[in-house]
């Protein structure tokens, strides 16, 4: 099976969900030919070597000044050129913001649909079955894309990166692509990079809050509890979005990934976008809503108001 993987670069490296997909493909599909589509303005050989190491046999590049930053129109155009050139059976991208933007567009241009946010896939005949959690992870839907070409995105955090990759240098080919005014209707202004001044990756204890914290001043108790336990604080994007807490503390798909021994989640509903960044040995939840999805993941849960419970917890722990 010929598979085209949309390669995403973040922080000057191949993004880890993309590496996760490569690992999943290598270990699940026999006789596979993995081709990476790498787009950008200046592409580094280091990235290409890394892709080879992780099992990519061929890298097809497209370079242009317009490809410096992801924009739907330019990236869709360049990817279609690569697809027509490679003629793959399966086109896949990590379901990041860019991946989720791109894949449905490529599908439409190929007159078909796409599967999204799969956490697993199996080979069935000459096709694939995708497993996607739906309804806030209450149910698992298995789907298939019928037709000559299959499009899909994976759910971030779904697959592990191969720790000991042993691939070799890939072949590199290039497609040329040009753009016109119609491709430049959406203008890039800037990327506001969140300042990651605190690394939460190695924190053993994290006390995190979500929208339920309901205000900047209420983060005080979160900080106090974290200090008391010798841990760090964390937050969902809902909190960093409104600057209740510094954006460095954002945990989840668009923030940091953490794996502490203890994670105390207060006022966090447990949306997949947050939970995909949390792998805790013990999860304690404090939430008013017994129906919140996060309860399903909890080892211990108190159904109550965090503003009442946390001060009591702090006093008792002292």
């Amino acid at each position: 099976m010929k598979i085209l993987v949309f390669i995403q670069i973040r922080d000057d490296k191949v993004e880890e969900n993309t590496l996760g997909i490569l690992n999943k493909i290598k270990t699940s599909i026999q006789g596979v030919e993995i081709i990476g589509a790498l787009l950008g303005k200046d592409l580094k050989d280091r990235w290409i070597q890394e892709l080879g190491l992780h099992g990519v046999q061929q890298v097809v590049t497209a370079t242009a000044p317009e490809l410096e930053v992801f924009l739907s129109a330019t990236y869709t155009k360049a990817m279609m050129k690569i697809i027509n050139n490679v003629n793959p059976r399966f086109v896949v991208a990590a379901g990041t913001v860019y991946g989720e933007d791109l894949i449905p567009r490529l599908a439409v241009r190929s007159n078909t649909s796409c599967a999204q946010r799969f956490v697993d896939f199996t080979v069935e005949g000459d096709g694939l079955h995708f497993h996607t959690p739906v309804r806030d992870d209450q149910a698992m839907k298995v789907t298939q894309v019928v037709g000559d070409i299959i499009f899909a995105t994976s759910r971030p955090g779904a697959f592990f990166v191969d720790e000991n990759p042993t691939g070799t240098a890939p072949n590199v080919t290039n497609v040329s692509v040009t753009f016109d005014d119609a491709d430049r209707l959406v203008k890039h202004v800037e990327i506001k990079k969140a300042e990651r001044t605190v690394n939460l990756k190695d924190a053993k204890v994290i006390v995190a809050a979500g929208r339920g914290v309901a205000g900047k001043e209420n983060f005080q108790i979160i900080r106090e509890l974290a200090d008391l336990l010798g841990g760090q604080i964390g937050a969902t994007r809902a909190c960093t979005d409104v600057h209740w807490v510094e954006e460095t503390y954002e945990i989840g798909q668009t923030g940091q990934s953490v794996s502490p021994d203890l994670y105390i989640a207060a006022g966090i509903s447990g949306a997949p976008q947050h939970m995909s960044g949390v792998k805790a040995k013990t999860l304690i939840v404090i939430n008013k809503d017994e129906g919140a999805p996060i309860i399903n993941y909890a080892d211990y849960a108190i159904i109550g108001d965090m503003h009442t419970i946390l001060p009591i917890l702090k006093e008792k722990l002292k």
Partner: protein, 266 residues
């Protein structure tokens, strides 16, 4: 300015259904039927523009058991008018077909400036419909917006990005999908709105009204086929403390943590 907002009606995810047929009308009460949460965020985005610039906001609902209920709520929030699009033949679990129906609806609506949608539909986890619709219409688009601001040439939009936020500018005739950021937190319905909703006559358009051949949007036309749908059983056992005074609850938690030898502290 003429704004079209596409919403969907889903069975609230707060409702834990033991079965798997989420659209079995006999099993859910009217209260369980809600507008998809980010669809409501999209309504808020439209109403903010209506408040500041003056706009005609039309809510359109294609999916659901009782779309009329969702659309009345949209009007009660402040939308100017609403259109229900219903046909027994529709298969909307495939975002490609859903986007096709949207595109045809827009063709019938005729003139519009801005299209707003929620980033997802939650019931089938389909995030693809907004991007697909934008591609079919060939309009400039921004997905997963967190905030938007009107500028001379159109809109300046900030959208979600891993590790930060990205700012782009789009012309006024554009498609934007809205996330559940603070900016888009939906307003409540108002008494005035509820009265308007009561009086509102919401037209119902069928596939034929849209000039759509049902064979192009029914289950046989789907390229995303459902193989199965099953409940996820999480094997994790949760020690749940859901009664007692707050202090008792905390005591109960700490006692259990001690019993289980969970280390509190780094």
């Amino acid at each position: 300015m003429k704004i079209i907002v596409f919403i969907q009606q889903i069975v609230s995810t707060q409702v834990k259904l033991q079965g798997v047929d989420y659209f079995d009308a006999s099993r859910v009460s009217d209260d369980d039927l809600v507008i998809n949460p980010t669809g409501k965020n999209a309504i808020e985005g439209a109403l903010k523009l209506k408040d500041s610039q003056g706009a005609e906001v039309t809510a359109v609902c294609v999916r659901g058991i009782k779309p009329n209920k969702a659309l009345k709520e949209a009007i009660a929030m402040g939308c100017s008018n609403a259109i229900e699009i219903t046909d027994e033949a529709f298969y909307t679990d495939d975002p490609y077909l859903l986007a096709k129906i949207y595109a045809k609806a827009l063709e019938k609506i005729g003139e519009y400036d801005l299209i707003l949608l929620g980033v997802d539909e939650q019931s089938t986890s389909s995030y693809a419909a907004p991007a697909m619709l934008a591609e079919m219409l060939n309009v400039p688009s921004v997905l997963t917006a967190e905030e938007m601001e009107m500028i001379d040439s159109g809109f300046r939009v900030g959208h979600v990005l891993e590790g930060g936020k990205k700012i782009v500018e789009v012309p006024q005739k554009a498609l934007i999908s809205c996330s559940d950021s603070q900016y888009f937190i939906p307003r409540y319905t108002t008494m005035r709105g509820i009265l308007a909703a009561k009086k509102a006559v919401i037209p119902i358009w069928s596939a034929a009204d849209l000039g759509l051949e049902t064979s192009k949007v029914n289950v046989d036309a789907a390229s995303l086929k459902q193989i199965s749908l099953s409940n996820i059983v999480i094997e994790k056992e949760t020690f749940l403390i859901n009664e007692g005074e707050p202090e008792e609850m905390v005591d109960k938690l700490l006692a259990k943590l001690k019993e289980d030898e969970v280390k509190l502290g780094a």
